[in-house]
Amino acid sequence: MTCKTEELLISLIAPHLAECRHICVGVSSPIPGAAAQLARCKSNDRIVVNLLGDFRHNSFTSGGQEIFDMAGQGRIDAFFLGGGQIDGQANINLVGTGTYPQTDVRWSGSFGSAYLYYLVPNVILFREEHSPRVFVPKVDFVSAPGLSPPEHHRVGGPKCLITGKAEFSFDPIAGRFTLVSVHPGYTVDDIVQSTGFDFDMPDDVPQSKEPDAETLALIRGPVAEQIRGLYPVFADKVFA
Protein backbone atom coordinates (compact mmCIF):
# COMPACT_ATOMS: atom_id res chain seq x y z
CA MET A 1 0.00 0.00 0.00
CA THR A 2 1.36 3.39 -0.96
CA CYS A 3 -0.45 5.19 1.86
CA LYS A 4 -0.96 4.68 5.57
CA THR A 5 -3.96 2.72 6.84
CA GLU A 6 -5.40 5.90 8.37
CA GLU A 7 -5.18 7.63 5.00
CA LEU A 8 -6.90 4.71 3.30
CA LEU A 9 -9.72 4.78 5.85
CA ILE A 10 -10.14 8.54 5.51
CA SER A 11 -10.37 8.19 1.75
CA LEU A 12 -12.84 5.30 1.98
CA ILE A 13 -15.19 7.11 4.37
CA ALA A 14 -15.26 10.43 2.52
CA PRO A 15 -17.25 9.34 -0.58
CA HIS A 16 -20.14 8.30 1.71
CA LEU A 17 -20.39 11.93 2.82
CA ALA A 18 -20.30 13.58 -0.60
CA GLU A 19 -24.05 14.32 -0.77
CA CYS A 20 -24.27 15.72 2.76
CA ARG A 21 -24.96 19.32 3.66
CA HIS A 22 -23.90 18.98 7.28
CA ILE A 23 -21.70 16.37 8.99
CA CYS A 24 -21.17 16.12 12.74
CA VAL A 25 -18.30 14.17 14.24
CA GLY A 26 -18.17 13.03 17.84
CA VAL A 27 -15.28 13.52 20.27
CA SER A 28 -12.10 11.44 20.01
CA SER A 29 -12.73 10.59 16.35
CA PRO A 30 -9.71 11.72 14.34
CA ILE A 31 -10.25 9.45 11.31
CA PRO A 32 -13.97 10.29 10.91
CA GLY A 33 -13.09 13.93 11.56
CA ALA A 34 -10.46 13.86 8.81
CA ALA A 35 -12.84 12.06 6.45
CA ALA A 36 -15.47 14.75 7.03
CA GLN A 37 -12.88 17.45 6.34
CA LEU A 38 -11.84 15.63 3.16
CA ALA A 39 -15.47 15.52 2.00
CA ARG A 40 -15.71 19.22 2.78
CA CYS A 41 -12.57 19.99 0.74
CA LYS A 42 -13.91 17.99 -2.19
CA SER A 43 -17.25 19.84 -2.00
CA ASN A 44 -15.49 23.21 -2.28
CA ASP A 45 -16.68 24.03 1.24
CA ARG A 46 -20.33 23.43 0.38
CA ILE A 47 -20.44 20.84 3.17
CA VAL A 48 -20.46 22.12 6.76
CA VAL A 49 -18.48 20.05 9.28
CA ASN A 50 -18.87 20.39 13.03
CA LEU A 51 -16.37 18.60 15.25
CA LEU A 52 -17.66 18.10 18.77
CA GLY A 53 -15.15 18.94 21.43
CA ASP A 54 -13.60 21.61 19.24
CA PHE A 55 -14.42 24.64 21.34
CA ARG A 56 -13.03 27.06 18.80
CA HIS A 57 -14.44 25.73 15.57
CA ASN A 58 -18.03 24.66 15.73
CA SER A 59 -21.40 26.24 15.09
CA PHE A 60 -23.01 25.41 18.41
CA THR A 61 -23.94 28.30 20.68
CA SER A 62 -26.93 26.88 22.58
CA GLY A 63 -25.20 24.33 24.78
CA GLY A 64 -24.72 20.60 24.69
CA GLN A 65 -28.28 19.83 23.67
CA GLU A 66 -27.99 21.72 20.38
CA ILE A 67 -26.51 18.86 18.35
CA PHE A 68 -29.34 16.57 19.45
CA ASP A 69 -31.93 19.24 18.74
CA MET A 70 -30.37 19.71 15.29
CA ALA A 71 -30.62 15.99 14.64
CA GLY A 72 -34.28 16.15 15.68
CA GLN A 73 -34.77 19.01 13.23
CA GLY A 74 -33.29 16.95 10.40
CA ARG A 75 -30.31 19.28 10.02
CA ILE A 76 -27.59 16.63 10.46
CA ASP A 77 -26.97 14.41 7.45
CA ALA A 78 -24.18 12.20 8.74
CA PHE A 79 -22.69 11.03 12.02
CA PHE A 80 -20.27 8.30 13.07
CA LEU A 81 -20.84 5.55 15.58
CA GLY A 82 -18.68 2.70 16.76
CA GLY A 83 -19.01 0.14 19.49
CA GLY A 84 -17.22 -2.26 21.76
CA GLN A 85 -19.39 -4.83 20.02
CA ILE A 86 -21.22 -4.57 16.70
CA ASP A 87 -23.34 -7.43 15.41
CA GLY A 88 -24.61 -8.53 12.01
CA GLN A 89 -27.87 -6.62 12.39
CA ALA A 90 -25.86 -3.45 13.04
CA ASN A 91 -26.78 -3.36 16.70
CA ILE A 92 -24.08 -1.55 18.64
CA ASN A 93 -22.95 -2.00 22.23
CA LEU A 94 -21.11 0.76 24.05
CA VAL A 95 -21.97 -0.44 27.55
CA GLY A 96 -20.21 -3.73 28.28
CA THR A 97 -19.97 -7.48 27.89
CA GLY A 98 -21.73 -10.10 29.97
CA THR A 99 -24.93 -9.67 31.90
CA TYR A 100 -26.17 -6.14 32.54
CA PRO A 101 -25.85 -4.23 34.81
CA GLN A 102 -22.91 -5.96 36.49
CA THR A 103 -21.21 -6.61 33.20
CA ASP A 104 -17.88 -8.49 33.02
CA VAL A 105 -16.35 -5.60 31.16
CA ARG A 106 -17.88 -2.16 31.60
CA TRP A 107 -17.33 0.45 28.89
CA SER A 108 -18.23 4.11 29.13
CA GLY A 109 -21.86 4.13 28.12
CA SER A 110 -24.18 4.70 25.20
CA PHE A 111 -23.56 8.47 24.86
CA GLY A 112 -25.83 9.88 22.13
CA SER A 113 -26.02 6.66 20.12
CA ALA A 114 -29.45 5.62 21.41
CA TYR A 115 -30.82 8.77 19.77
CA LEU A 116 -28.59 9.78 16.85
CA TYR A 117 -28.70 6.28 15.30
CA TYR A 118 -32.46 6.79 14.79
CA LEU A 119 -32.41 10.37 13.59
CA VAL A 120 -29.34 10.91 11.42
CA PRO A 121 -29.98 9.61 7.89
CA ASN A 122 -26.41 8.50 7.20
CA VAL A 123 -24.73 6.82 10.13
CA ILE A 124 -21.28 5.53 9.27
CA LEU A 125 -20.21 2.69 11.53
CA PHE A 126 -16.49 2.92 12.06
CA ARG A 127 -14.32 0.62 14.13
CA GLU A 128 -10.66 0.16 13.30
CA GLU A 129 -10.21 -3.08 15.24
CA HIS A 130 -11.65 -5.85 13.09
CA SER A 131 -11.80 -8.96 15.27
CA PRO A 132 -14.32 -11.55 16.44
CA ARG A 133 -14.48 -9.91 19.88
CA VAL A 134 -15.76 -6.70 18.27
CA PHE A 135 -17.86 -8.15 15.46
CA VAL A 136 -20.07 -10.59 17.33
CA PRO A 137 -23.12 -12.67 16.36
CA LYS A 138 -25.26 -10.78 18.89
CA VAL A 139 -24.27 -7.83 21.08
CA ASP A 140 -24.60 -8.33 24.84
CA PHE A 141 -26.29 -4.96 25.29
CA VAL A 142 -28.08 -2.98 22.61
CA SER A 143 -27.00 0.64 23.11
CA ALA A 144 -28.79 1.35 19.86
CA PRO A 145 -30.40 -1.10 17.45
CA GLY A 146 -29.48 -1.27 13.78
CA LEU A 147 -33.10 -1.80 12.83
CA SER A 148 -36.43 -0.79 14.32
CA PRO A 149 -39.94 -2.12 13.80
CA PRO A 150 -41.96 -0.04 11.32
CA GLU A 151 -44.07 1.61 14.03
CA HIS A 152 -40.98 3.15 15.65
CA HIS A 153 -40.20 6.64 14.39
CA ARG A 154 -36.89 6.24 12.61
CA VAL A 155 -35.47 8.38 9.82
CA GLY A 156 -31.86 7.37 10.30
CA GLY A 157 -29.67 4.33 10.57
CA PRO A 158 -26.54 2.55 9.44
CA LYS A 159 -25.34 3.05 5.88
CA CYS A 160 -22.02 1.21 5.97
CA LEU A 161 -19.33 -0.23 8.21
CA ILE A 162 -15.70 0.65 7.71
CA THR A 163 -13.01 -1.22 9.64
CA GLY A 164 -9.25 -1.54 9.58
CA LYS A 165 -9.60 -4.51 7.22
CA ALA A 166 -12.66 -4.02 5.05
CA GLU A 167 -15.72 -2.07 4.04
CA PHE A 168 -19.32 -3.34 4.29
CA SER A 169 -22.61 -1.88 3.17
CA PHE A 170 -25.77 -2.42 5.20
CA ASP A 171 -29.14 -3.40 3.75
CA PRO A 172 -31.91 -2.30 6.13
CA ILE A 173 -34.50 -4.51 4.40
CA ALA A 174 -32.47 -7.69 4.74
CA GLY A 175 -30.96 -6.47 7.98
CA ARG A 176 -27.54 -7.72 6.88
CA PHE A 177 -24.10 -6.46 5.98
CA THR A 178 -22.53 -7.11 2.58
CA LEU A 179 -18.77 -7.13 2.15
CA VAL A 180 -17.95 -4.37 -0.36
CA SER A 181 -14.17 -4.47 -0.48
CA VAL A 182 -11.16 -5.77 1.39
CA HIS A 183 -8.27 -3.50 2.25
CA PRO A 184 -4.84 -4.15 0.72
CA GLY A 185 -2.96 -6.77 2.72
CA TYR A 186 -6.06 -8.79 3.64
CA THR A 187 -7.99 -11.58 1.94
CA VAL A 188 -11.68 -12.40 1.96
CA ASP A 189 -10.79 -15.33 4.15
CA ASP A 190 -9.12 -12.97 6.66
CA ILE A 191 -12.36 -11.04 6.82
CA VAL A 192 -14.47 -14.17 7.34
CA GLN A 193 -12.11 -15.27 10.11
CA SER A 194 -12.12 -11.88 11.85
CA THR A 195 -15.88 -11.36 11.69
CA GLY A 196 -18.07 -13.05 14.28
CA PHE A 197 -21.30 -12.41 12.39
CA ASP A 198 -22.59 -13.81 9.14
CA PHE A 199 -22.59 -11.44 6.15
CA ASP A 200 -23.22 -11.47 2.40
CA MET A 201 -20.67 -10.97 -0.33
CA PRO A 202 -20.48 -10.98 -4.11
CA ASP A 203 -18.59 -13.75 -5.92
CA ASP A 204 -15.73 -11.38 -6.57
CA VAL A 205 -14.87 -9.05 -3.72
CA PRO A 206 -12.69 -6.20 -4.97
CA GLN A 207 -9.78 -4.71 -3.11
CA SER A 208 -10.50 -1.40 -1.41
CA LYS A 209 -9.46 1.45 -3.67
CA GLU A 210 -6.47 3.39 -2.43
CA PRO A 211 -6.66 7.17 -2.58
CA ASP A 212 -5.49 8.72 -5.85
CA ALA A 213 -2.72 11.28 -5.84
CA GLU A 214 -5.09 14.25 -5.70
CA THR A 215 -6.99 12.85 -2.73
CA LEU A 216 -3.78 11.96 -0.93
CA ALA A 217 -2.53 15.51 -1.45
CA LEU A 218 -5.73 16.87 0.08
CA ILE A 219 -5.45 14.50 3.07
CA ARG A 220 -1.83 15.39 3.70
CA GLY A 221 -2.36 19.09 3.02
CA PRO A 222 -5.51 20.96 4.09
CA VAL A 223 -7.15 18.03 5.91
CA ALA A 224 -4.06 17.38 8.05
CA GLU A 225 -3.90 21.08 8.79
CA GLN A 226 -7.56 21.28 9.85
CA ILE A 227 -7.37 18.19 12.03
CA ARG A 228 -4.14 19.11 13.78
CA GLY A 229 -5.74 21.65 16.12
CA LEU A 230 -8.06 19.12 17.73
CA TYR A 231 -5.91 16.00 17.29
CA PRO A 232 -2.25 17.00 17.49
CA VAL A 233 -1.01 13.56 18.56
CA PHE A 234 -2.86 11.86 15.72
CA ALA A 235 -1.69 14.43 13.20
CA ASP A 236 1.93 14.07 14.31
CA LYS A 237 1.72 10.31 14.04
CA VAL A 238 -0.01 10.03 10.67
CA PHE A 239 1.01 13.16 8.82
CA ALA A 240 4.53 13.59 10.23
Binding site: V27, G64, Q65, L116, A144, E151
Partner: protein, 283 residues
Protein backbone atom coordinates in the same frame (compact mmCIF):
# COMPACT_ATOMS: atom_id res chain seq x y z
CA UNK B 1 -34.41 35.49 46.36
CA UNK B 2 -31.60 35.12 48.77
CA UNK B 3 -28.41 36.88 47.80
CA UNK B 4 -25.63 34.83 46.30
CA UNK B 5 -23.07 33.95 48.97
CA UNK B 6 -19.34 34.15 48.37
CA UNK B 7 -17.47 31.34 50.12
CA UNK B 8 -14.30 29.29 49.96
CA UNK B 9 -14.45 26.02 48.03
CA UNK B 10 -14.40 23.99 51.24
CA UNK B 11 -17.25 26.12 52.66
CA UNK B 12 -19.17 25.85 49.39
CA UNK B 13 -19.30 22.06 49.46
CA UNK B 14 -20.80 22.00 52.96
CA UNK B 15 -23.96 23.05 51.11
CA UNK B 16 -24.06 19.64 49.36
CA UNK B 17 -25.95 17.35 51.75
CA UNK B 18 -25.20 13.64 51.99
CA UNK B 19 -27.55 11.45 49.95
CA UNK B 20 -28.64 14.29 47.68
CA UNK B 21 -29.13 14.29 43.93
CA UNK B 22 -26.07 16.05 42.56
CA UNK B 23 -25.66 17.14 38.95
CA UNK B 24 -22.29 17.85 37.38
CA UNK B 25 -21.50 18.75 33.80
CA UNK B 26 -19.24 16.98 31.35
CA UNK B 27 -15.47 17.36 31.21
CA UNK B 28 -14.07 20.35 29.33
CA UNK B 29 -17.39 22.23 29.51
CA UNK B 30 -17.83 22.83 33.23
CA UNK B 31 -16.11 20.09 35.23
CA UNK B 32 -16.05 21.03 38.94
CA UNK B 33 -12.88 19.10 39.73
CA UNK B 34 -11.66 21.19 42.67
CA UNK B 35 -15.15 21.29 44.21
CA UNK B 36 -15.30 17.52 43.87
CA UNK B 37 -11.93 17.19 45.61
CA UNK B 38 -13.32 19.39 48.40
CA UNK B 39 -16.43 17.19 48.57
CA UNK B 40 -14.20 14.15 49.02
CA UNK B 41 -12.18 15.95 51.72
CA UNK B 42 -15.50 16.76 53.39
CA UNK B 43 -16.38 13.04 53.33
CA UNK B 44 -19.71 13.38 51.51
CA UNK B 45 -21.65 10.09 51.29
CA UNK B 46 -24.47 8.51 49.34
CA UNK B 47 -24.62 10.94 46.43
CA UNK B 48 -27.01 10.24 43.59
CA UNK B 49 -24.89 11.54 40.80
CA UNK B 50 -26.26 12.81 37.51
CA UNK B 51 -23.69 13.47 34.81
CA UNK B 52 -24.79 16.10 32.28
CA UNK B 53 -24.81 14.25 30.05
CA UNK B 54 -21.51 12.41 30.56
CA UNK B 55 -18.89 12.16 33.27
CA UNK B 56 -15.12 12.10 33.37
CA UNK B 57 -12.41 12.72 35.90
CA UNK B 58 -14.57 14.29 38.66
CA UNK B 59 -17.18 11.53 38.43
CA UNK B 60 -14.58 8.77 38.50
CA UNK B 61 -12.89 10.41 41.48
CA UNK B 62 -16.14 10.79 43.45
CA UNK B 63 -17.10 7.19 42.74
CA UNK B 64 -13.65 5.92 43.64
CA UNK B 65 -13.70 7.82 46.93
CA UNK B 66 -16.92 6.03 47.94
CA UNK B 67 -19.05 9.15 47.85
CA UNK B 68 -21.61 7.84 45.37
CA UNK B 69 -24.60 5.53 45.82
CA UNK B 70 -25.96 5.72 42.28
CA UNK B 71 -25.12 7.33 39.00
CA UNK B 72 -27.29 8.31 36.08
CA UNK B 73 -25.10 8.85 33.06
CA UNK B 74 -24.81 8.61 29.30
CA UNK B 75 -21.20 7.59 29.71
CA UNK B 76 -18.24 8.01 32.03
CA UNK B 77 -14.81 8.00 30.48
CA UNK B 78 -11.42 9.68 30.51
CA UNK B 79 -11.72 10.22 26.73
CA UNK B 80 -8.33 9.68 25.05
CA UNK B 81 -6.95 8.46 28.39
CA UNK B 82 -9.18 5.44 28.32
CA UNK B 83 -12.09 4.12 30.35
CA UNK B 84 -12.96 5.49 33.79
CA UNK B 85 -11.48 2.77 36.02
CA UNK B 86 -13.24 3.47 39.33
CA UNK B 87 -16.59 3.84 37.59
CA UNK B 88 -16.12 0.54 35.74
CA UNK B 89 -15.08 -1.28 38.87
CA UNK B 90 -17.95 0.11 40.97
CA UNK B 91 -20.53 -0.83 38.34
CA UNK B 92 -19.15 -4.33 37.89
CA UNK B 93 -19.04 -4.97 41.63
CA UNK B 94 -22.54 -3.62 42.11
CA UNK B 95 -21.24 -1.07 44.61
CA UNK B 96 -23.11 1.68 42.80
CA UNK B 97 -26.47 1.53 41.12
CA UNK B 98 -26.14 2.45 37.46
CA UNK B 99 -28.87 4.08 35.42
CA UNK B 100 -27.65 4.17 31.84
CA UNK B 101 -29.09 7.05 29.83
CA UNK B 102 -28.40 8.70 26.50
CA UNK B 103 -27.18 12.29 26.15
CA UNK B 104 -30.33 13.91 24.74
CA UNK B 105 -32.45 12.18 27.39
CA UNK B 106 -30.44 13.84 30.16
CA UNK B 107 -30.74 17.23 28.49
CA UNK B 108 -34.45 16.82 27.74
CA UNK B 109 -35.28 15.65 31.28
CA UNK B 110 -33.41 18.65 32.71
CA UNK B 111 -35.19 20.97 30.29
CA UNK B 112 -38.47 19.49 31.49
CA UNK B 113 -37.31 20.26 35.04
CA UNK B 114 -36.35 23.77 33.95
CA UNK B 115 -39.83 24.32 32.52
CA UNK B 116 -41.68 22.76 35.42
CA UNK B 117 -43.11 20.07 33.15
CA UNK B 118 -43.90 16.70 34.72
CA UNK B 119 -42.30 14.82 31.80
CA UNK B 120 -41.03 15.29 28.27
CA UNK B 121 -41.08 13.03 25.23
CA UNK B 122 -38.00 12.03 23.26
CA UNK B 123 -37.59 10.42 19.85
CA UNK B 124 -35.24 7.49 19.33
CA UNK B 125 -34.23 5.19 22.20
CA UNK B 126 -37.15 2.74 21.74
CA UNK B 127 -36.07 -0.85 21.36
CA UNK B 128 -32.64 -0.27 22.86
CA UNK B 129 -31.50 -1.94 26.06
CA UNK B 130 -31.05 1.58 27.42
CA UNK B 131 -34.83 2.00 27.30
CA UNK B 132 -35.49 -1.56 28.49
CA UNK B 133 -33.48 -1.02 31.67
CA UNK B 134 -35.12 2.26 32.66
CA UNK B 135 -38.34 1.42 34.47
CA UNK B 136 -38.60 5.11 35.40
CA UNK B 137 -39.23 5.90 31.72
CA UNK B 138 -42.61 5.26 30.06
CA UNK B 139 -43.84 4.69 26.55
CA UNK B 140 -47.19 6.02 25.35
CA UNK B 141 -48.84 6.02 22.00
CA UNK B 142 -48.53 9.51 20.48
CA UNK B 143 -51.98 11.04 20.94
CA UNK B 144 -51.31 13.32 17.97
CA UNK B 145 -50.61 10.47 15.53
CA UNK B 146 -52.87 10.21 12.51
CA UNK B 147 -55.96 8.09 13.09
CA UNK B 148 -55.12 4.44 13.28
CA UNK B 149 -51.36 4.96 13.24
CA UNK B 150 -49.45 3.57 16.17
CA UNK B 151 -46.58 5.85 17.12
CA UNK B 152 -45.00 4.85 20.43
CA UNK B 153 -43.10 7.70 22.08
CA UNK B 154 -40.72 7.55 25.01
CA UNK B 155 -41.56 9.81 27.97
CA UNK B 156 -38.90 10.86 30.47
CA UNK B 157 -39.71 12.13 33.95
CA UNK B 158 -38.46 15.67 34.54
CA UNK B 159 -35.23 15.93 36.52
CA UNK B 160 -34.74 18.58 39.19
CA UNK B 161 -31.39 17.96 40.91
CA UNK B 162 -31.12 18.90 44.57
CA UNK B 163 -27.79 20.52 43.85
CA UNK B 164 -25.97 21.54 40.67
CA UNK B 165 -22.22 21.90 41.04
CA UNK B 166 -20.76 23.98 38.24
CA UNK B 167 -17.35 25.31 37.33
CA UNK B 168 -17.27 28.42 35.16
CA UNK B 169 -14.77 30.88 33.78
CA UNK B 170 -15.93 33.88 35.79
CA UNK B 171 -18.59 35.44 37.94
CA UNK B 172 -19.13 39.05 38.86
CA UNK B 173 -19.38 40.56 42.36
CA UNK B 174 -23.18 40.35 42.16
CA UNK B 175 -23.22 36.59 41.69
CA UNK B 176 -23.93 36.53 37.96
CA UNK B 177 -22.03 33.71 36.24
CA UNK B 178 -20.60 33.73 32.72
CA UNK B 179 -21.68 30.56 30.88
CA UNK B 180 -20.89 31.61 27.31
CA UNK B 181 -21.86 28.96 24.76
CA UNK B 182 -22.07 26.26 27.46
CA UNK B 183 -25.78 26.90 27.97
CA UNK B 184 -26.15 23.54 29.71
CA UNK B 185 -24.84 25.35 32.79
CA UNK B 186 -27.92 27.55 32.68
CA UNK B 187 -30.22 24.60 31.99
CA UNK B 188 -28.88 22.69 34.99
CA UNK B 189 -28.98 25.73 37.25
CA UNK B 190 -32.56 26.51 36.22
CA UNK B 191 -33.63 22.94 36.92
CA UNK B 192 -31.75 22.52 40.21
CA UNK B 193 -33.04 23.52 43.62
CA UNK B 194 -29.62 24.77 44.65
CA UNK B 195 -26.76 25.86 42.40
CA UNK B 196 -23.18 26.10 43.65
CA UNK B 197 -20.54 27.53 41.39
CA UNK B 198 -16.78 27.64 41.39
CA UNK B 199 -15.10 30.12 39.06
CA UNK B 200 -11.65 30.86 37.78
CA UNK B 201 -12.04 34.50 38.75
CA UNK B 202 -14.45 37.01 40.17
CA UNK B 203 -14.57 40.14 38.06
CA UNK B 204 -15.54 43.70 38.99
CA UNK B 205 -17.57 44.26 35.81
CA UNK B 206 -21.36 43.73 36.13
CA UNK B 207 -22.00 40.97 33.58
CA UNK B 208 -25.66 41.96 33.34
CA UNK B 209 -24.86 45.58 32.53
CA UNK B 210 -24.32 45.15 28.81
CA UNK B 211 -26.45 43.11 26.43
CA UNK B 212 -23.29 41.61 24.98
CA UNK B 213 -22.21 39.96 28.22
CA UNK B 214 -25.74 39.41 29.58
CA UNK B 215 -26.44 37.17 26.57
CA UNK B 216 -23.98 34.60 27.92
CA UNK B 217 -24.71 35.08 31.62
CA UNK B 218 -26.63 33.05 34.18
CA UNK B 219 -28.25 35.60 36.47
CA UNK B 220 -27.64 35.52 40.22
CA UNK B 221 -31.28 34.59 40.78
CA UNK B 222 -30.24 31.00 40.12
CA UNK B 223 -26.94 31.05 41.98
CA UNK B 224 -26.86 30.19 45.67
CA UNK B 225 -23.15 30.44 46.32
CA UNK B 226 -19.87 31.03 44.52
CA UNK B 227 -16.28 30.16 45.40
CA UNK B 228 -13.19 31.12 43.52
CA UNK B 229 -11.14 28.13 42.36
CA UNK B 230 -8.31 29.03 40.03
CA UNK B 231 -7.66 26.07 37.71
CA UNK B 232 -10.78 24.61 39.26
CA UNK B 233 -11.38 22.19 36.37
CA UNK B 234 -7.79 20.89 36.41
CA UNK B 235 -6.68 18.34 35.27
CA UNK B 236 -9.67 18.60 32.94
CA UNK B 237 -9.87 21.50 30.51
CA UNK B 238 -12.28 24.43 30.59
CA UNK B 239 -13.80 25.54 27.28
CA UNK B 240 -11.31 27.49 25.24
CA UNK B 241 -9.64 28.85 28.39
CA UNK B 242 -7.32 25.93 29.05
CA UNK B 243 -6.87 22.40 27.80
CA UNK B 244 -6.41 19.11 29.58
CA UNK B 245 -3.35 18.25 31.58
CA UNK B 246 -2.63 15.07 29.66
CA UNK B 247 0.31 14.05 31.83
CA UNK B 248 -1.79 14.19 34.95
CA UNK B 249 -4.77 12.42 33.41
CA UNK B 250 -2.45 9.65 32.24
CA UNK B 251 -1.06 9.42 35.77
CA UNK B 252 -4.61 9.32 37.12
CA UNK B 253 -5.78 6.71 34.61
CA UNK B 254 -2.91 4.45 35.64
CA UNK B 255 -3.41 4.98 39.38
CA UNK B 256 -7.17 4.45 39.20
CA UNK B 257 -6.70 0.96 37.77
CA UNK B 258 -5.33 -0.25 41.10
CA UNK B 259 -6.97 0.07 44.54
CA UNK B 260 -3.82 0.93 46.44
CA UNK B 261 -2.50 3.28 43.81
CA UNK B 262 -5.87 5.05 43.80
CA UNK B 263 -5.67 5.48 47.58
CA UNK B 264 -2.21 6.98 47.17
CA UNK B 265 -3.58 9.26 44.48
CA UNK B 266 -6.34 10.47 46.81
CA UNK B 267 -3.79 11.16 49.54
CA UNK B 268 -1.46 13.01 47.24
CA UNK B 269 -3.84 14.93 45.01
CA UNK B 270 -7.16 15.22 46.81
CA UNK B 271 -6.82 15.20 50.58
CA UNK B 272 -4.14 17.84 50.87
CA UNK B 273 -2.39 20.75 49.16
CA UNK B 274 -4.02 23.43 46.99
CA UNK B 275 -4.42 22.97 43.25
CA UNK B 276 -1.40 25.00 42.20
CA UNK B 277 0.91 22.64 44.10
CA UNK B 278 -0.74 19.62 42.54
CA UNK B 279 -0.19 20.97 39.07
CA UNK B 280 3.48 21.48 39.92
CA UNK B 281 3.69 17.99 41.39
CA UNK B 282 2.66 16.52 38.03
CA UNK B 283 4.82 18.70 35.84
Amino acid sequence: MQQTKFLSVDELVTMVPDDCNLAIIKDDSSAPSEAVRALIRRGVKGLHLLTVPTGGYPSDLLIGADCVASVETSGVSLAEFGPAPRFGKAVKSGKIVIRDATCPAVYAALQAGEKGLPFIPLRGVLGSDVAKNRDDWKVIDNPFAKDGDSDPVLLLAAIRPDVALIHAEKADRFGNVWVGREKEMATVAHAAHCTLVTVEEIVDEDLMASTTTAAGTLSNMYVDAIAQAKNGAWPVGLGDLYGRDGAHLQLYAAAARDDDAFEDYLQQFVMTAPVADKIKATA
